[in-house]
Symmetry: C2
Subunit: 430 residues, 2 copies
Amino acid sequence: MQGSRQHRVVIVGGGFAGLNAARGLGGAPVDVTLVDRRNFHLFQPLLYQVATGGLSPADLCAPLREVLKKQANTTVLLSEVSGFGLSGRRVVTDHGELPYDTLIVAAGARHHYFGKPWERLAPGLKDVEDATEIRSRILSAFERAELIDDADERRRLLTFVLVGAGPTGVELAGAIGELARHTLRREFRRFSPAEARVLLIEGADRVLPPYLPELSSKAKRSLERLGVEVMLETLVERVDDGEVTLRSGDELSRVPCGTVLWAAGVQASPLARMLAEAAGLEPDRAGRIRAASDLTVPGHPEVLVLGDMVYLEDLAGKPLPGIAPVAMQQGRYAARFVRRRLAGKPTGDFHYVDKGSLAVIGRAAAVADLGFVRFSGYFAWLLWLFIHILYLVGFSNRALVLFQWAYSYLTRGRGARIIANASVGPPPDS
Amino acid sequence: MQGSRQHRVVIVGGGFAGLNAARGLGGAPVDVTLVDRRNFHLFQPLLYQVATGGLSPADLCAPLREVLKKQANTTVLLSEVSGFGLSGRRVVTDHGELPYDTLIVAAGARHHYFGKPWERLAPGLKDVEDATEIRSRILSAFERAELIDDADERRRLLTFVLVGAGPTGVELAGAIGELARHTLRREFRRFSPAEARVLLIEGADRVLPPYLPELSSKAKRSLERLGVEVMLETLVERVDDGEVTLRSGDELSRVPCGTVLWAAGVQASPLARMLAEAAGLEPDRAGRIRAASDLTVPGHPEVLVLGDMVYLEDLAGKPLPGIAPVAMQQGRYAARFVRRRLAGKPTGDFHYVDKGSLAVIGRAAAVADLGFVRFSGYFAWLLWLFIHILYLVGFSNRALVLFQWAYSYLTRGRGARIIANASVGPPPDS
């Protein structure tokens, strides 16, 4: 556009939004730079399978370079973004500044503890390290139970508390239930893994609160069939080492437990706040930027913000959920936006197309896993499986995941059961 | 045997030796306890594939509990052994003492730096954490090269030095050569990954020194075809941050490099020294115990020591190598030894049956990987593949590894390219 130099697009983040934006710009008359602090795209919706030993991290990771290697106009840089110079149109990274003509920011979200210092005691599930850490905690709890004689202590170790019954909490609870009741059966000599208690804590009056009530009750029944105790209208008052305090109405109860996992809320990446400050805006409570209806940052038509970092409402005034389909559609929209603007065509607004709640039934059914197979939810589960595998980025991963799934479906086994590092921690008595 | 109580066998270590001993005692009239500080058996011979992004750690790990779950007489404990009380017949662990009637110790080996403080600068490849650390270092070197303009610094980053041309060094060198020349081709925009230099340093006058000279020269030619520079009769004089100093004869040369990997020697687990001290013996230079010809510890017929912890010679007076087939045969022998002694039968000596050097050709040929396909070594490579996959412990892993191999054979891709943790380290200039 400007004389001989190509229009430069910098994309921050290689998640669903950023990667789809980058792919959408393949072959466009622009110079694309994708910056991420990780060298891979992560398929987050299946991360709970890594956390429970069903899949390996690499099954869900596609190297960004490999995905984008055929796009000659695209450079991938592995670096951390530390600031935005909006007036000079530069992104500051750990390895120097990147000038841009159009900036697309899609750095995602992390867990939200609402100001409480619970991150170490109750890890959440957002990236590969979270997943392997959670996997180690879950498996170590069973291992430690085999090492002791004290029945109370064993009961504590085998109590798993999941905070938040959104999709991640529901999937994790179901997978831990399956692990305890089926996978680990007959593997211990001093106790039965089926003694494990899995508590799913939810503040609302049903699981999967954003979905249809029928789906919520189906999901709840499926979870209970796997032995999960679903506690609705219950809040977590405190998290301590070895114990959580729950509140139902005015009643407080203390539950000794070995593992607490957090799935109760997310907060936009700190880059959202940096970008908001650079643009003179105030982020919302979850740290997100209120973008214009074309995903641009108000006052900065050359900056788009996508995915979990953005707060946007649909035409009915309902906020868009922080899920992969929204991010992917926004990424594709951003690429089209750049192409059309460069061609001098109108860009139009972003509209999320909800492909229906079938996938959602599927996800709830997949939580039910094999327990759900015997009735109608089976086909929803198959559909969920199909959709998830379809969207796995690399072919190799897709076939691998399908294979592992078929195998664990047939045997109820979980192969990826590695406890990281050399020990289960200090002896319980010390 | 002694009244109503079962004979108690404690096995320390779930590697090739320990796991084979445990399996061999399935159904025997004994009470078996297998103690390991990890919850899985690791198929070490393929670990270089994890270090170079070809396989995931879990592909090579079989949960010990799962492998042994059908043996009702066997308990698996995840704990670290910290001592041996031979007179009281007890093993001291982090979670209490384990009494035994027969003790089998097979805790393996670690790298040997011959007293030099090089472990951090030049990691070796023995366990899963080593492999993921090495994978991160190799991939990060390429990532950092994409972030800089300085040609000398890039040349340094892209220089990989492998110390020791035994099987591990040869396999790693070949895999890095393959990665640079084939897998990463077209993935970078500012340099060609084929610029990478891979130096394989060996003190002896040929690679794979314990094998037949014809095999050594075939392996060397295969490596050179992948661009590996093989430096024979060369010693590492110093390892510094960003540089190694090499000695050939009287000549010293300094080589700036980004990654140094250690495959020059192993040393028995510290448990060997503990056991030797408890038995009043002196370990050899590599920390191994000189066992009797029936693998018992001299003076302690109730204690057997197996695998990389033991120094043993064959009938010709040649020391047995520290390889998986030796360890597996010793494990099976130990189980038979226990069964026969309990039955009052003669136990006999351990004899290693060398199944021939075909697998060794295969291993060298597999180093050559796809470059070797075009001539006679191909069938050796297939045989090597077949044998390695055959010995992978779990069925699921076996099929998974075969699948991944077929996939990377066809595409030259490597899917498991995860750089651990969030960054490639500080910017090169800082």
